[in-house]
């Protein structure tokens, strides 16, 4: 249980928490997405780092290749990266549409505008 042995896990958890904090604490919709991206990326590290062995090579069946790294986490994370990119792209596209519709990307202002609309529609009825 050494610090150095668990170094990758500490970094992972730190990045996870930083990402989650940004998503919760920031009001700017773009910054929230940056936090979300960080949160997802930290998970990639959780998968990749245990798959690597010091001195390990690619998994080739043959003479002289005894210690090898596990390739499966890399493949999984390639998929997860694609999913993450798609999510981020969709999130950014939504922010563009929100900016067009509301003229703002600050969550508090947007919720304020919605609350105004609500009051107006109630006055009318």
């Amino acid at each position: 249980m050494t610090f150095a042995g668990h170094y990758a896990y500490f970094v992972t958890i730190l990045l996870l928490m930083v990402g989650l904090f940004i998503v919760i604490a920031r009001s700017n919709l773009i910054k929230k997405l940056i936090g979300l991206g960080l949160f997802q990326t930290a998970v990639y590290l959780l998968y990749i780092s245990p798959g690597k062995l010091i001195g390990g090579v690619a998994p080739i069946v043959g003479e002289g290749f005894e210690v090898y790294s596990n390739p499966l986490p890399h493949v999984l994370i390639l998929t997860a990266i694609v999913v993450g990119v798609a999510t981020l792209a969709l999130g950014l596209a939504l922010v563009v549409r929100i900016k067009e519709a509301y003229g703002s990307i600050e969550e508090e202002e947007i919720l304020g505008l919605d609350a105004d609309d609500e009051l107006k529609s109630r006055d009318r009825s």
């Binding site: 998503v23 979300l36 959780l46 998968y47 997860a80 999913v83 999510t87 939504l94 929100i98 947007i110």
Partner: protein, 493 residues
């Protein structure tokens, strides 16, 4: 020959329909392809369900790579039944979209709407059938991404914000799930669910298993909208196009509930989840909170769509209550309510969609005198409401009956009282609609709106009729729910 490929066909048919629709681009042919594809999925899901019930577990190796190395699709009575529910709702909703969508989505986006519906359907069916933990995550994201787009297509600008919020919460939920299966993979070296179910008990319950259980539970609960993780749901259902609200309310949360049941009972096993710690008590407390608090919030809504959305959160509480009882009876009640609530809430949203089309909005005030101006829709909506309350003769009663019997079998008599009390709250929010629709004068000076077009009215009425049908004769749905519950509790050994 073809019959052995049913599990993969169920996912591939809607998945292929999506790009075909994008190539067609015109509204009518897109709708036709989407409708045919959804009918095809039901035609595949039915024989699959029949086979799963009679033969037990069906294993399908993708690309002929034998599991656990290759990706496996594993079908038993539980996921075949939920897949049947999802494709059944698809068959009701797709014909409805023809007119239902025309007023709510811009004409040049129609083909994208249908393509997204197909991707969402394909993703949901994939989540159900796959026997691979990571594959499940990919399908979860396919269905979620399609859902975010569908919600953002609502004509109100608040739909965009609702979709953005759901995107944040949904992605956090899915990422927590990935962390959970990452921890399981590090421990066991396998991602195959059946293989995990064999290897995990041999490990005892080290802390990393418990961490994985916690991450998976919270991640999937976000997708279920289990109270208090439901904050994304009311806006998402309220501002999305009506057909999307109906489809999501009837399928998306239900599929996630299936995933939770699968992890609790088949993979971790009830000894790890329930016997050794307080999961059951926590789930019970959250379910009770879900049954009461959102139901009270629903009473004060001024918009009928939001009212139904909060009622959905409250009804999810009944399903998780069944899970928390940790018995085959409780699971039967959970699966039965999953089916019955899908029919009820899907039908109510479809009826409401027709009303919104004619009245131009879903505010409760606009529905004054609806009992006279749109008598069929108002009556169908009330029948759906009775099923939400759980009046005998409707589907809602059957599952509440199962739930109360299961609670009593566990000696939890007071739970029966809690279910009754929360049903009284449902009486209040359904009554608000009845009062406005039947006891107020229709607005003067406006031409009477008339009923919704037949393509919308018929699917909506069909679902409401089904809801009464399965309330009067629960033998088929009850036996399916029991078979599903036994499959979940029995495991894949």
């Amino acid at each position: 020959m073809l019959s052995q490929h049913l599990p993969i066909l169920l996912v591939v048919v809607p998945l292929l329909a999506a790009p075909i629709i994008v190539l067609l681009r015109r509204s009518f042919p897109s709708w036709l392809v989407a409708t045919l594809a959804s009918i095809a999925t039901l035609a595949i899901a039915l024989p699959l369900l029949a086979r799963a019930v009679s033969e037990g577990v069906i294993s399908y190796a993708i690309g002929n790579w034998p599991p656990p190395l290759g990706i496996e699709y594993r079908v038993d009575a539980a996921n075949a039944f939920v897949a049947f529910i999802v494709s059944l709702i698809g068959v009701f909703v797709m014909p409805y979209c023809r007119h239902g969508v025309s007023s709510e989505v811009r004409a040049e986006e129609h083909y994208l709407f249908y393509a997204m519906m197909m991707l969402c359907l394909s993703g949901l069916l994939g989540i159900l059938l796959t026997g691979d933990a990571f594959n499940l995550f990919v399908f979860l994201e396919i269905s979620s991404l399609a859902t975010y787009v569908l919600i953002a297509m609502g004509r109100d600008r608040r739909a965009l914000v609702a979709s953005y919020q759901y995107l944040l919460m949904g992605t956090i939920g899915a990422t927590l799930y990935v962390i959970g299966i990452g921890l399981l993979y590090l421990q066991t070296g396998t991602l195959n669910l059946a293989d995990l179910a064999v290897r995990l008990p041999a490990m005892g319950d080290p802390r990393s298993t418990l961490a994985a259980l916690a991450f998976i539970t919270v991640g999937i609960s976000l997708k279920i909208a289990l109270f208090p993780l439901h904050l994304w749901l009311p806006n998402a259902y309220a501002y999305s196009p009506s057909a999307v609200s109906a489809f999501l309310a009837a399928t998306a949360t239900k599929v996630s509930i299936y995933v939770l049941m699968r992890y609790f009972f088949t993979i971790f096993g009830e000894t790890v989840v329930f016997d050794a710690r307080y999961t059951g008590v926590i789930l019970l407390a959250l379910s009770l909170a879900a049954m009461f608090i959102p139901a009270v919030v629903a009473i004060f809504q001024t918009d009928v769509k939001r009212l139904l959305a909060y009622s959905s959160v409250s009804q999810i509480g009944y399903i998780t209550l069944g899970i928390s009882l940790n018995s085959v009876g409780g699971l039967t009640a959970a699966v039965a309510h999953l089916f019955n609530h899908a029919l009820t809430k899907g039908g109510m949203f479809l009826v409401l969609g027709g009303v919104v089309l004619r009245l131009g909005g879903s505010a409760l005030d606009r529905m004054a005198g609806l009992g006279r101006t749109m008598p069929i829709a108002a009556f169908a909506f009330v029948i759906g409401g009775l099923s939400l309350i759980g009046i005998p003769g409707t589907a809602g009663f059957v599952s509440k009956w199962y739930l109360v019997t299961a609670a009593m079998a566990e000696g939890q008599w007071w739970l029966a009282g809690a279910v009754m009390l929360s049903s009284l709250l449902a009486v209040i929010y359904v009554w608000r609609f009845v009062e406005v629709a039947y006891f107020r004068e229709p607005p003067e000076g406006l031409p009477p709106p008339g009923e919704a077009p037949l393509t919308m009215l018929l699917p909506a009425l069909a679902m409401i009729v089904a809801c009464v049908w399965f309330g009067l004769d629960a033998s088929w749905s009850g036996s399916m729910a029991r078979a599903a519950a036994e499959a979940l509790a029995g495991g894949w050994k």
